[in-house]
Amino acid sequence: MTNAEFSKLAAAYAKEAGCENCETFYANGESFEVNANGGEIDRYSVSREAGVSVRVSYQGRDGYAYTERIEEPEKLVDHAIDNAKCIETDDLHPMQGKSEYRTIDRRPSALAPLSEQERIALAKRMEEVALAEDPRVKRVVYCTVAYEAGRVAIENTRGLNAAKESDVSYTYVMPSVQDGDEVQTGFAFRMGANAADVEGCAKEAVADALNKLGAKPVESGEYRVLFRPYAICDLLTAFSPMLSADEAQKGCSLLAGKEGQSVASGLVTITDDPFDAIAPRAFDGEGTPSVKKPVVENGTLRTLLHNLKTAAKAGVESTGNASRISAASTVGVAPTVLRIEPGEKSPEALVAEMKDGLIIVELEGLHAGVDTISGDFSLKAAGLLVKDGAIARPVSGITVAGNFISLMKNVSAIGNDLKYALPTGGYFASPSLVVAKLSVAGS
């Protein structure tokens, strides 16, 4: 059964069964991933995926059901109606009607035109370069080249008919270096238009690992801290639920009701930009046209992120931030491309200005050491000690602890080095940020 047939049958059956509306969300895609190890292919995966979700509106309530067996639409609609019947909240979740969309100028990412053999060769080349870069490189832990392409089609009985395509290319490598008894790992990645730059990626990862050799903790205390872009991206990723109107309406965000108030240093502007060239999209997870907007402007919270449901509850317009983590999941709220806007200063100038302090290069344990409700975090970190405005030595075995809102309020300088993190579900970008003080636990 084709998707179009499935949608049509589902819609007709849903009407007959008493649903006000019915929507199908169809997604399919292909993926390719190869990992090189010891000059050979060591993990290799290719796939074809497809699935369809039905969402019905039954007596004002939403019910969902999803299947990867594209057959028997009636059964799936019955499951969805069953689920709608047990919903007890009175919140309305309108479906998007027929909409006009901006044309997206999307260029296929770097690995799209390459054959599987060429992608395999890139992975092998990346490992080769990493191993040859320095005698202390012993092996690669990961050395991966990946490409994914996908299509989404949303149709409903209110006249919505939206379709889009996306693709993503990325490569990443983690070399392991050894000096005496000490082992360190480094990491680097490339994505989008730069995804085929495996040599640059390998060299950067080796440099990252070598820079950590000899790392040791610093004394516990309060430090002036410069966060490198990827470290801030990690924090932003972890704490982005605070910006969700859904979380706010559930009482799970300290930013609830703070629109128009100061929530960060006046230097901080955060944009939600669905048209950012890294991953442009014309509409969100429920077919609402995309909107670019400042979320935090010069430190002031301008808006939380809404889908149609949270917007209806708050009496505002959707900000085009409906998300479907996958076709199998229900409609939620998420940023599109969330970007902390860069400042004027080079990262070198920021280091020189901070005189004494700590550079945090990477954070670990993001899925465990953060509390998105309180904003608190306590995370293992690695970085560099700065003395008299110059990098003195590598640092590891420390934890940094604080609160994300306090950290944003304490931003005292912003770099011009905007970087996009490797996407883990969403896209996040940031330059280096300097904060006046942060608690560090070390030796």
């Binding site: 292919i41 290799y44 047990c86 050491g369 409700i373």
Partner: protein, 465 residues
Amino acid sequence: MIDESTARAILSEAQKSGADYAELFLEDRENNLAEMLDGKVESANYTRICGAGVRVLKGTLSAYAYSADTSKQALLDTARAAAAALGEAKFSPGGSVAFSMKRYGTKVERAFDAIGNADRVRLMREAALAARGVSDEVTQIHVRYGDSTQRVTIVSTDGVFAFDERPRTRLFVRAVAMKNGEAQTGFEGPGCCRGFEAYRDSIDAAETGRIAAEMAVTMLHAPECPAGYLPVVIDGGFGGVIFHEACGHSLEATSVGRNNSVFCGKLNTKIAADCVSAVDDGTMPGEWGSINIDDEGTPGQRNVLIENGILKGYLIDKLGSRRMGMPITGSSRRQGYMFAPTSRMTNTFICEGTDSEEEMIATMGEGLFARKMGGGSVNPPTGEFNFSVAEGYWVKNGKIVSPVRGATLIGKGSEVLKLIDRVGPKMWMSQGMCGSLSGSVPTNVGQPRIRVSGMTIGGKGGAIE
């Protein structure tokens, strides 16, 4: 269920580029997930995951292809895609595999497709009401209920032709307590590998809600944890996450077989204190991490990892077995057909010891009692780990003086194992989802109450008086 001749045709297609092993994994899985917020059902979803994966091995080379389409034509295409990674399709595999057909499955009294949403909602409401009753400071209660029935067929050129049915269910409560703009969270999430009868027999919904709410309220009144290097007592149950993260992952063939583990070449050598023994046991009836067979079709096993401080074994899948030259251990798992299987944990725990739970706190001086852990992560090549303490108490002069919030524990697995100086007499387990190369799989972590003589405690608080 796929018939023998179709399965044979697919494996044969997969071996055409010279693979010496081919395996077909078919999955049909139904999930029900419902969420309740503040006593009202907020969302309900049904998902049916169907697809197949074909894996080929040639020596230690491996390739995997999968597809949501399980028609014979699509399966043949998938087999071809996997084979293509190993080279040209110019071999015709000789001989005919003799399949050993086996049917496994966990018996249930109340199957998930035979209960209705009303049963699920009643259970969630019970948990929510109990949490609500704990304190006025509890401002939000989020209850998640999930059940799943996974039906798999695994066929391989090793002669495996196995069918397995795997029911699982879990109730998860997250409670938030708030005061003066400050918020703290508590959670509890029991689960098991049984039918819905589990909520009559082994899981108490009300107790689950109460534990989550009490934890949130306790932490709301807790000062920040001080930082330092001090003794730490880690309680049983989810405290076992320390071993799971810091050692368990480093004992998986995924790490060991690639020389990415600190425990490489350490078999039969001392890696832990004498009082430490540890086991990974996939055979415990009804437990969350238990398996009838692993995802290569090998029956689950009880694997001794450490015995009185001596390293006794690793967790090994078929590919790992080839890399390491050691036998498989029934440890190959995957989230579903979208993942190639690899070595994973099941129910992993430190075994019971003989030390008194009270004495180990009374004699610790100043330090941290980590009653409940949060999650964590580990870097296998270096063995460095970190994890958060979800519910902690500060100990001074051998007495608990105050709850503390925001603590993390960091260190190296190989070092901490040697610093364990007390192991209590009663072991219990907690449920978790473990993420790794082959996706997210249900695992149990467990241990008795133990003491580590010194660990780095991260936190931002001042001295506790």
